[in-house]
């Protein structure tokens, strides 16, 4: 009796595996061929819908959906192709990211847009370059996404730049001693902390206390108590968004009253919702500040407000953040490159991207890529939360 049951379970498992296997292979063979056929081409969207960066990914997806609404077709060889978006959820997970990338490649996408978070992009990068499919990163700011990868481009700026910008801001606003909080194993956070520390020390400041925590940690009281004990007036914590409200609220409970400085991930309206009054004073930089491009702002807001579910995904506001702008731009850049190449072949689109020098039609353009495939940018917008709202504070420019 027992044996037969076990055997049944084992058989069930085997069958499931087989079924999944069949499903995947049959779908890839059928869709692989027709991706560029007919009048439709596929563009892969590589974003985290779930996992620790699910929130940011959802915002970027909205902007890409809007960009697709603005520009539903591309013209190649005198023929108009309808663009079909192929959404793959990388779940903010490096392993799933590879599966998602393989699915996109199997689906025969012409190019890829995304994503939010550097780790998943680095994990998927080599798959795109081996398949000769050009990808444009939206808000993945780690240098290694594009470094040594001919097919990965990027619409936003890099971590070293952000670390430098925030170090400049901190030093010029009178903070000479700061503490840093690093998330071990997170490329984004560690990259920013390192460049911040280097730049801040070069400017003459001191990093008095460098604290670390592990991914998925939710108790920061120990490190916050250490920071309180060190007596600094400012803390640089460029963590993933997930940790931001936890840090702020726990700091409040411990009576730690400091200037919080973070990277672009904290620049989100969710933070104001999640941390309430404790979020006041937080400083973060962003790719784009609302008001930078009137036409984009107006169009996107109208589109957002047209459908309650879109606005709900954007956390019930029509406020525009940097991730919206760079994602919109990434989609437009890919379309422009396809048209400039006048081809649906990966290598031709890649060359067109490398040669691209456009100023019109973007939210935060003009765009031109350097030898690594990174958009050449020298400006970042510093914003601060004052009385429950993100307000523009200053524009920092770093000479390259």
């Amino acid at each position: 009796m027992k044996r037969s049951k076990l055997f049944g379970i084992a058989l069930g498992c085997l069958m499931t595996v087989n079924l999944i296997g069949c499903g995947a292979s049959s779908s890839s063979s059928s869709t692989g061929s027709d991706a560029a056929s007919g009048d439709t081409i596929k563009i892969g969207i590589f974003e985290p819908k779930t996992g620790e960066n699910g929130g940011g990914g959802a915002q970027e997806e909205l902007a890409i959906e809007y960009a697709n609404y603005v520009r539903p077709t591309v013209t190649v060889g005198g023929k108009e192709y309808k663009i079909q978006l192929d959404w793959q959820d990388n779940q903010s997970d490096k392993t799933v990211a590879v599966t998602a990338a393989q699915k996109l490649i199997a689906d025969g996408v012409v190019g890829v847009v995304g994503g939010y978070g550097s780790g998943v992009c680095i994990a998927a990068g080599s798959y795109y370059s081996n398949a000769k499919i050009p990808a444009i990163g939206t808000s993945c700011t780690n240098a290694n996404v594009t470094l040594g990868n001919d097919y990965y481009f990027r619409a936003c700026y890099l971590d070293p730049f952000q670390g430098e910008v925030m170090a400049n801001w901190a030093y010029s606003n009178g903070f000479t001693e700061v503490a840093t909080i690093d998330n071990i194993g997170n490329e984004y956070t560690s990259g920013l902390v390192k460049t911040f520390t280097d730049s801040f020390t070069a400017l003459g400041g001191t990093v008095v206390d460098s604290e670390t925590f592990q991914t998925n940690e939710s108790d920061f009281k120990a490190i916050l108590t250490n920071i309180k004990n060190s007596g600094v007036k400012a803390v640089f914590a460029p963590t993933d968004y997930l940790y931001a409200p936890l840090l702020l609220n726990q700091a409040h409970d411990l009576g730690l009253d400091v200037q919080w400085i973070a990277g672009d991930t904290w620049y989100s309206n969710v933070l104001i919702q999640d941390a309430g009054d404790n979020a006041n004073g937080v400083v973060a930089d962003t790719f784009y500040s609302e008001g930078g491009n009137q036409e984009f702002d107006a169009g996107f807001k109208e589109w957002l407000n047209a459908d309650a579910s879109r606005k709900a995904t954007n956390l019930d506001t029509d406020a525009i953040v940097g991730n919206h702008a760079v994602s919109y731009d990434a989609y437009m850049l890919l379309c422009d490159a396809i048209e400039a190449a006048d081809s649906l072949e990966g290598p031709a689109i890649r060359d067109a991207l490398a040669a691209l020098d456009e100023s019109e039609g973007y939210a935060c353009g003009p765009y031109k890529f350097d030898a690594n495939g990174d958009a050449i940018k020298d400006t970042s917008y510093i914003c601060q939360i004052t009385s429950g709202e993100w307000t523009y504070q200053s524009t920092e420019t770093v000479q390259k």
Partner: protein, 292 residues
Amino acid sequence: MISYLLQQLLNGLSLGGAYALIAIGYTMVYGILRMINFAHGDEFMMAGYFMIFSLAVFPWYFAIPFVILCTIVLGVVIERIAYKPLRSAPRMSVMISAIGISYLLQNLANYLFTAMPQSYPQIDILKHVYTFGNISVSRVTIIAPVLTIVLTFLLIMLVNHTKLGMAMRACSKDQETARIMGIKVDNIITTTFVIGCGLAAVGSILYFTDRNTVQPYSGSLPGLKCFVAAVIGGIGNIQGAVIGGFIVGICQIVITAMGYSVFSDAFTFALLVLILIFRPSGLFGEKAVQKV
């Protein structure tokens, strides 16, 4: 320096208190069913979501009992659907079923509430911040360990000095004989889940009030750590689980405070391995004060 140490000690005690309450759930279910309820950590996570929704509708003094009730219903329903039909199956099947429920709850939460961390409502009565010189603590930090000890005391009273407790002890010793003696074993098992889930709900209020956000995977790591706490204390032993909870909580804070946050989780699990090698029945397992 003293205030710094005191502050860290308070941090550790409040974390340990929440861990202890969850660990009791693991230990009680193990005591009676000889199975590890891997879904317990996720029931704790669901309790967090229940609080978000109930506090949006009710005032706190009504919301808290309501959340405890919802969590109990969830736990009992899980037991009825996923564990009860497997009562005569090999123990491994129930364990696998529990792992399945754990993933089911995580993905269900992911689907229903999205992966976005949801902000946990602030219960003003728990959030009041006291400041003594250099130390500041929120009320929940003080309440957590005290409430844990009070609840544990009540639970031990229940187990040792009531008829129900006697029936539970009988079930944990030998279910077949207990049944022959006229004890309704299924009812006792349900009671065990009621108590375990109720405590998990209280633990979740203490834990999330301090952390402010709930997301679908909030329960998995604390769940594992509380399981370790239960093993350290000697699984099946209530006082042991509570002491194990405090040990795990305080160790985590101490290690992080010393700057070795990289090893804080590793330490917890290394402790598990060491305990299993050198004292497989846990720190308090041998005495076997009671097996519930």
